[in-house]
């Protein structure tokens, strides 16, 4: 039954609302709304000053229209008038309008702030509450500037009413969230902590939330709250249900307050004081015990409230991570919930167990539930619960159960939802790599991944498998064989072709002895997929072909025929055409020695942190590192680039130390190390290219100022590269040329972890060059 509104029922508003509801179509609705808007506009502009009731009614109508989803661009002035009125309902509507339709007009903001200021100073608790609510709802920077200093005073003043204290506390909380710098810590912080002892539990509730947020900003100020919180919590937990009267919710004592106190305690490490810690442990044990007792009520609210406190207590136990008994008990409790009837509890249990699994005390206990979790993965009907189960399997994986878990995740992947597939793929890849004892298993797993979920296998995953195969000699033959067999399937995913092409190109010779996988067969197999692939894959395959020419001279002619065909040499795509032309030329003019050097086997990749892990952490699209593909293209292009004209390099005495902290450590496949300097992304690429480009590692010259001649001569062919490198310092050169003008940049990179002091660099210009230098050398920005 639509109830009586106690107070003013605005009849016009009710009529308007029912009109809108009765509109048969969207157009009718819009027409009615426009009519009303015109009416209101004329009333607002009219000569006759509107009385409070009408103003209230119209402003309310505007609010309703806005909440329906239409834009409102007037009415703010009237709303501000309303909130300055003395009538409570008018004030209410005025404040509501302002809170919902936030306006950035500075005059209005000034007026609003004035209105609020008056209300705050009015000593009328209802008015004060209204204004505090408005500040909390809007929480804009201007309001924070105006009021952030006053509210703490109101909060701790002795004569403030309880309800106002509550509002003030949460209002301060909101202001702190939006403008933390404007809320100053002061002597009021001690008084706020003291509020935890207040008689009125509503005040305690609000104060706890406030302290939790502020403690994250400046934990030291609120350290004293820990003991008070523990005392309060134990009083609540051990209280009989009649003690707390209205704060008991379905036979659970003050559940909201308990949860908030437990949250507050999670901001701090376990208390050092033995007695305090004992009390807290007692508290937590009582909560755990209560969970085992038969429920006092059949209602779901009772169990929800009880379990809410329980889960928060478990979160605290996990956070402290210091009491093994509590951890194991928590784990057992969660284990019970894993098979509970109610889906919500199963979901939460799976989620909490994820965090438990990472603690050393309870890791073993968590593992005992693996069968239940796998069962959940297979039988749960709710996809979000299945997702949690996958997360838990990932968290509890270690050497002993890795194979089992990966197998389960793979079989789940076959039927999984599209939205979560990519994450599962990444997780399987990480697990397989981390716990692989026998790398043949790893290779199998990744190939399976590609087979099952090829589209979701991102580049990082298959770069990684190639990286590992190249780094490990023992698995290369196996990889070649498996990939060969996998490629023979009639329909294989493009990623598999990429991996297969690369691996056969590098290691096809290991299986060439077998007649079933002779070079010609390998080539035919790869070429059969050629036309089905996209351009990047084809580019990769072309590289594989030239590698075949090097490995298997007997198929040289066949491959050259393929390269010579028009579809390659005149291919519309520039990359493919270039590769075909260059590879063809290379194969014809280069002698076997040169070919062998050029197409030497890839050196092992340097060990870096897996980029898959980084991607898993961000889960937001592919990383933005130069992929192995692009880096390889760069390399090959540089090898075959024609002579670029000589570059003149005369470098004066290198400085002894460098102040800049450029870190040229971008690696091929891993995430960058310490962040590159501004404007340095190109720079970073430059250095990484030169780092990985040369087949031989750079000579580490002795730490003196002489620069090796070898390094100079490299710059005949290259514009960019490393000039000098030792343990402390790396000097790089970058030059650009246009017709008769050239420019050289010299970069000094600090390779140590400490900052250098007193860096200076000088450039000595011998007379010969002086006339040619148009601009005197100047130091670039330090970065």
């Amino acid at each position: 039954m639509p109830a009586v509104s106690k107070g003013d029922g605005m009849r016009g508003l009710a009529v308007f609302i029912s009109d809108i509801r009765n509109c048969k179509s969207k157009e009718a609705e819009i027409k009615r709304i426009n009519k009303e808007l015109a009416n209101i506009r004329s009333k607002f502009k009219g000569d006759k000053a509107l009385d409070g009731y009408s103003k209230k009614k119209y402003v309310c109508k505007l609010l309703f229209i806005f909440l329906l989803g239409h834009d409102i661009d007037f009415g703010h002035m009237e709303a501000v008038n309303l909130l300055s009125s003395n009538k409570y309902t008018e004030k209410q509507i005025g404040y509501l309008f302002i809170s919902v339709l936030v306006n950035s007009n500075s005059d209005l903001i000034r007026l609003i702030n004035n209105g609020i200021k008056n209300d705050l100073a009015s000593r009328n608790p209802t008015h004060m509450n209204l204004s505090l609510h408005c500040i909390a709802n809007v929480g804009s920077r201007e309001m924070a500037e105006a009021f952030a200093a006053d509210i703490p005073r109101i909060l701790v003043a002795g004569d403030t009413m309880d309800s106002v204290k509550q509002s003030a506390a949460l209002c301060l909380l909101r202001l702190n969230r939006t403008s933390p710098d404007l809320v100053p810590m002061g002597e009021w912080t001690a008084r706020v902590v003291h509020l935890l002892n207040d008689q009125h539990l509503g005040v305690v509730t609000s104060a706890t939330s406030l302290i939790t947020t502020l403690a994250q900003k400046s934990p030291d100020d609120f350290k004293t709250s820990v003991s008070l919180a523990i005392a309060r919590l134990s009083r609540i937990v051990t209280s009989a249900s009649i003690d707390l009267q209205d704060y008991t919710y379905y036979f659970v004592a003050a559940p909201w307050l308990s949860v908030k106190l437990l949250r507050l305690l999670q901001c701090y490490p376990p208390p050092e004081d033995g007695a305090l810690r004992g009390r807290l442990t007692e508290c937590l044990e009582t909560i755990l015990n209560k969970a085992q007792e038969p429920p006092k009520s059949k209602k779901v609210q009772h169990s929800n409230a009880k379990n809410a406190v329980l889960f928060e207590a478990i979160a605290l136990i996990i956070h402290h991570d210091s009491e093994p008994t509590l951890l194991v008990r928590a784990c057992n409790q969660l284990g019970q919930f894993l098979q509970h009837r109610e889906t919500n509890l199963r979901y939460l249990a799976l989620e909490s167990m994820c965090t438990l699994a990472s603690s050393e005390f309870s890791h073993e206990a968590v593992k005992t539930h693996i069968e239940t979790v796998i069962n959940a993965l297979k039988t749960e009907r709710d996809v979000s619960v299945r997702q949690r189960a996958v997360d838990l399997l990932y968290a509890m994986c270690d050497r002993s159960n890795a194979k089992q878990i990966v197998a389960e995740m793979l079989s789940y992947l076959e039927t999984a939802d599209y939205s979560i597939r990519e994450e599962i793929v990444l997780k399987v890849a990480v697990l397989a790599e981390k716990y692989a004892v026998d790398y043949t298993w790893y290779v199998d797993t990744i190939l399976n991944l590609i087979r099952v979920a090829g589209d979701q296998v991102s580049e990082e995953v298959w770069y990684r498998v190639i990286q590992i195969v190249i780094n490990r000699d023992d698995v290369q033959g196996y990889a070649a064989k498996t990939v060969f067999e996998a490629l023979q399937a009639p329909a294989c995913h493009e990623n598999l072709v990429k991996v297969g092409g690369y691996i056969l190109g590098e290691f096809g010779n290991l299986i060439a002895g077998d007649s079933r996988s002779s070079p010609l067969v390998q080539f035919k197999l790869l070429h059969s997929k050629f036309h089905l692939c996209s351009v990047p894959t084809r580019a990769l395959l072309l590289s594989a072909y030239i590698k075949f020419i090097n490995l298997f001279p007997e198929v040289k002619a066949t491959i050259q025929e393929v390269l010579r065909s028009d579809s390659q040499l005149r291919n519309a795509d520039v990359e493919l055409q270039q590769r075909a032309v260059e590879y063809l030329r290379l194969s014809t003019i280069a002698s076997t020695d040169i070919l062998a050097t050029v197409l030497e086997e890839m050196p092992p990749f340097p060990e870096r942190e897996s980029s898959i892990l980084a991607k898993l952490k961000t889960r937001k699209g592919p990383g933005n590192q130069p992929g192995a593909e692009e880096a390889r293209q760069e390399r090959e292009r540089e090898r075959e680039r024609s002579l670029n004209g000589s570059a003149e390099h005369k470098e004066g005495g290198a400085a002894a130390a460098a102040k800049t902290s450029l870190y040229p450590s971008a690696d091929l496949l891993g995430p960058t190390g310490p962040p590159p300097s501004t404007g340095g992304s190109l720079l970073v690429d430059v250095f990484s290219d030169s780092l990985q480009a040369g087949p031989a590692p750079l000579d580490l010259a002795p730490p003196n100022t002489a620069v090796s001649e070898d390094n100079f001569s490299r710059f005949i062919c290259k514009n960019n590269g490393v000039l000098f490198e030792n343990q402390l310092l790396q000097i790089g050169l970058k030059s650009e040329y246009r017709q008769n003008l050239g420019r050289i940049y010299v970069f000094f990179g600090n390779k140590t972890s400490t900052q250098f002091l007193d860096f200076s660099s000088t450039v000595n210009c011998p007379d010969l060059l002086k006339t040619n230098i148009l601009q005197p050398p100047r130091p670039a920005a330090q970065c």
Binding site: P2, R11, S85, N137, T205, D382
Partner: protein, 214 residues
Amino acid sequence: MRFMLLFSRQGKLRLQKWYVPLGDQEKRRLGRELVQTILGRKAKMCSFLEWRDLKVVYKRYASLYFCCAIEEQDNELITLEVIHRYVELLDKYFGSVCELDIIFNFEKAYFILDEFLLGGEAQETSKKSVLKAIEQADQLQENIDFQMRLFPVAGRHSQKASSELVSQSELVSQSELVSQSELCLPVLVLVLNQGLDGVLVPNMASESSGLFQN
């Protein structure tokens, strides 16, 4: 809590409370997307889901979905109980509340919500205290009106610095106040009649059913 949405089974937003500063367009977009996601879930599914980088807790009461978006570290079960407590408050205030109440008295719904939650956190968890505060506020208004009626001239002076004229309708508000229930009925009857005429008003039955009935 980041925000709370109430919407009907047809996806119409009945109440939206945002505890984070966002632009209007952004709010509308988020609201639409979340509503679609929730409406797409089946009946027996879990009340929690991960959406974007937030946790969403929702529950359906009769024809209304109550949906809250909370942060990573918030407790889901207690949020379910926050929703329940809010419904209880509405129920007590309106007397067996249904969706129609919230539609026609939306401003009251916001006021009640403000008394219970502020800045995204529960400020007062005692049902009696919240209801008492709201009643006090209502009383305040009735007292003012009563005063105005009894002492129309004196009342005007006893109000502090009010620049609005008291209109005629205020002075006759006595009859309004007394016959509140009758006031609402004609509106209701109007709507009902239209329903009975055969014009489809699809939400009628569900919207007038009490929220606690299912």
